[in-house]
Symmetry: C2
Subunit: 409 residues, 2 copies
Amino acid sequence: MLKLDTAVPGVKGFAVAGIHAGLKKDSKLDMALIVSERECTSGAVFTRNLMKAAPVLVNMDHLQQRGQQMRAVIVNTTNANAATGQVGLENARTMAQLTASQIGCAAEQVYVMSTGVIGAQLPMEKIGAGITLAASQLGNRWDNAAAAIMTTDTWAKVASVRVQSARGEYSIAGISKGAGMIAPNMATMLGVIATDAALPSLQIQSLLGAACDTSFNRIVVDGDTSTNDMVVLLANGASGIQLETAADLAQFQEALNLLTIYLAQQIVRDGEGATKFITIEVNGTQNHADAAQIAHTIAASPLVKTAFYGNDANWGRIVAAAGRAGVQFAPDQTSLWIVPGESIVDGERGLLLFDRGIKADYEESAATAIISNASIYVTLQVGSGQGHAVVWTCDLSHDYVNINGSYRS
Amino acid sequence: MLKLDTAVPGVKGFAVAGIHAGLKKDSKLDMALIVSERECTSGAVFTRNLMKAAPVLVNMDHLQQRGQQMRAVIVNTTNANAATGQVGLENARTMAQLTASQIGCAAEQVYVMSTGVIGAQLPMEKIGAGITLAASQLGNRWDNAAAAIMTTDTWAKVASVRVQSARGEYSIAGISKGAGMIAPNMATMLGVIATDAALPSLQIQSLLGAACDTSFNRIVVDGDTSTNDMVVLLANGASGIQLETAADLAQFQEALNLLTIYLAQQIVRDGEGATKFITIEVNGTQNHADAAQIAHTIAASPLVKTAFYGNDANWGRIVAAAGRAGVQFAPDQTSLWIVPGESIVDGERGLLLFDRGIKADYEESAATAIISNASIYVTLQVGSGQGHAVVWTCDLSHDYVNINGSYRS
């Protein structure tokens, strides 16, 4: 039985720091460094936004060149190094180079992550001093690293899983920050995951891709995709555990999913202005992609999100959003249930609101009682196909407008 | 020179009423009837939402059967007759039948429009009495009809154009209401356009389609598409003017576009919680559809809309939204300008904020001064292609959340 730990007792062969480089005010931690003592196999998932930030472009290049020899991740906040042209690309490469010379490797063995304002050039003097400081404070400080990558997040997001495998024990740890483009001028969902197991280089990218597909790619705060989104997985093998068989990899995938789903859900829970945690489950489509498309459309609808905020069990908005998702289904085979909580227990979908194309027979007061909870689980059945998807989202509140409508300060 | 009139002096052969049938509180007008004394050629544009309301399905059937013999449009508010199953379809057909028997035609010669709460059955007794009352009060009351189709609109939307053609004078009049799914449980953009010119039956659908493509299909309030959206065009020929030649039809198209653009813009100006009128122009794509897709993505972005609300000239959010629109373009050939107002005068695009992939050299105070206006024109150039589109939108304010987050009353 895999168990999540909301701290990181340690991941062998990784040293981590979070420091204050003078980028944020009030001595807050603002740069993070994650270093492996040995070369790692690695995978990475990047934003699909066409306007990719400089560090994303540099990392894509590094992954291609040295994906199986990576050593470190350097992260800065307050500046996204996006829409910064050739100077921005040079600055991202310089960040990798400065980090590499501190730890003794090639620049191409370093991933660079930036998050913050779009369009301004990095303050390279502070960044350079920050890298030197971070390198001098390396230790088991995943908590500091998680705090150092925050922007408008209100808490640090960090967790780990210790896995008892047939071959012995190994660990996976991860940190993440800020969902999508939820923050004023901030523009990034970032995640760094490290394990001391050794993973086969041919499979690491698909393991990370599969984990992201059920976690970071299943959350919606406001539907905007940032220029800087990035998740990396580093496996250094320092535990001496070499994962090879299908059973080994399946167990690792399960542990990785547990960790990434937790980190992804933390992002939704800490979504700007969020007052509710909402799960949207869609079943019955021809395939999983169709179910995910419907679930994402519902989760991103401002009308659905404001209804949740207002404790209004407004199933009409939910089915109308489903209807415009671009997926074919039969309205008269479509039904909708709601229940309090974050999961379905014993197949109990809760109160039926919409019954094969028409309003179900229910009391409005019962629906209101459910929708007024802090966590709500919505199940939409749109036919009898095998397609299935779950998406997590939050509501759209006055505070979202407060936070995003306020002038940059 | 075509000129818009914000009243309707009259359209020959059409009689119109707006009455109170007891659907809204406080004796407000809540049903509208538009009748032509003779059979009309007609075209109609329907919502693309899969969850089509009963009146939409019934009208699609009527258009197919009697599209060139239509006589009337009956509209009710407060109830969308959507997600109402077989009973809903029967009620929509009954509305057509009751209207037909009042004016002496076949039920299939009547369009039915409904707007309001999703999922409840129509109060058919009140609706029936309302139809009888409306039929008894027919006259030149386009103002009443426009008021009667309002839901959370704050003003009635009505206009007309008188056209001096080579063949003589004719008129076009139109009414519209509420943009997209902007209202709590209300779910409709409706439009009715009538002309006393005679139009060739083969062209009327494409004339209306072209007009909608540059007007009602170019507005965004919240990105939600309703189950009831519908625009109809009726041409009865009562002016004696028969439009036939390419020149005749081009002039009609121009007048129709003038009218529909006005009515569509009125919907954005009256968008829920709107404090600003924003024009998004996109140029330089391979084709017009790509430009429209980028412009729509920008217009629907909650981050872009909250930035406008907050007087924040946040071009990073605009180009990031463009980057996730699903259209290929080169960031380093992409530039962005803003200027106050609703149109570009003498090619003056205003202040350059983003210059071929990087931040332009401008003063933040100058950008803030522009963005603080009630009307802002944004131009995004994404290459050198011939693709072009203009979309109108509004900002996302606290009031939008107030209106849509409040419990149904």
